[in-house]
Subunit: 183 residues, 2 copies
């Protein structure tokens, strides 16, 4: 674990920033460890020691980029909250940048912890939506049911089967997960 | 498209065989294009010209390894056929070899056609199961419903959220996809 503000945290911030800057300047495929090290003001061996290789570093950066920036919006009821969330999730993950981050997160991830973190982000957001609905007195499905019924089909189709992946499809998944046949 | 028996098909077979042999002898991470070329009796430039790079070659080999070897078994009714199929799919895909092939298939796949092929294999097998049930006079869900309800959660959890991924979970997914609360 990294102590905030310590040297280790400063190195991490500088290296992540260097990856993001260089990816937008020269493109992700042109990145190398020496290039990133030079921009971050660290030695290549600092990067190898901490991240192992470029793919693991890109995986860590991708997970940071996939971290949600805000709590899910409150639209007054569970169906509206979940459809809005699913639509935004689909927009972000199915975008070229989103797809690229998902692939990076999956790839340089020998122990699966980065992929697990991506999934945990989605589960935390859904917990917020479901707790809010429970607070309104709604009967809600549990979070794993929504992961299976909404997040899994969206992510599976983004990675493997992209035809027909649009907002109405996301809405149908939410309706089914809530045991409704339509909005 | 490759004409069966032609030079192109022979090169492909030799290169795929070289990858499989070398992967079991020296390990997947030690593979290089020159090593594969030497074993296959082709020049490295033949491999670069045809596959672009090692990752695309590994992706093609992975898709071949993920191709189902047999038609889904006939167990007398739709629930039994789908649970048996889902259990076998989970066993194969969640194994260390299966996970490694899925990652390879996703990675060296710039246009998504290899990932699409993996998904098509599953859909074809499910079509067979569903057509057989329809032939018995059963009312069946359509194949995309089973993809969303069974294949997507299994694959999502294999890649992102492996806790609790076992045969009883696969059975519950099948029961839900068939609109049943239990076997």
């Amino acid at each position: 674990m990294v102590r905030p503000g310590g040297r280790s945290a400063r190195v991490q911030a500088a290296v992540h920033a260097a990856v993001r800057e260089l990816a937008s300047e020269v493109g992700r495929d042109a990145l190398t460890v020496p290039l990133v090290a030079r921009r971050a003001g660290v030695t290549p061996s600092t990067i190898y020691r901490r991240w192992g290789d470029l793919q693991e570093l890109l995986s860590d950066v991708a997970v940071e980029r996939l971290r949600p920036e805000a709590s899910p919006g409150d639209h007054g009821d569970l169906y509206a909250d979940l459809t809005a969330w699913a639509e935004q999730f689909l927009d972000e993950m199915a975008s070229p940048a989103g797809r690229s981050y998902i692939r990076d997160a999956l790839l340089g991830d020998p122990d699966g912890s980065n992929a697990g973190q991506c999934s945990a982000y989605a589960a935390e957001q859904l917990e917020t939506v479901l707790a809010r609905a429970a607070g309104r007195g709604d009967v809600t499905p549990d979070v794993e049911t929504v992961m299976d019924g909404v997040v899994a089909p969206l992510m599976y189709r983004i990675l493997f089967r992209p035809d027909g992946l649009d907002a109405p499809y996301a809405h149908r998944l939410v309706a089914q997960a809530l045991g409704r046949t339509g909005p």
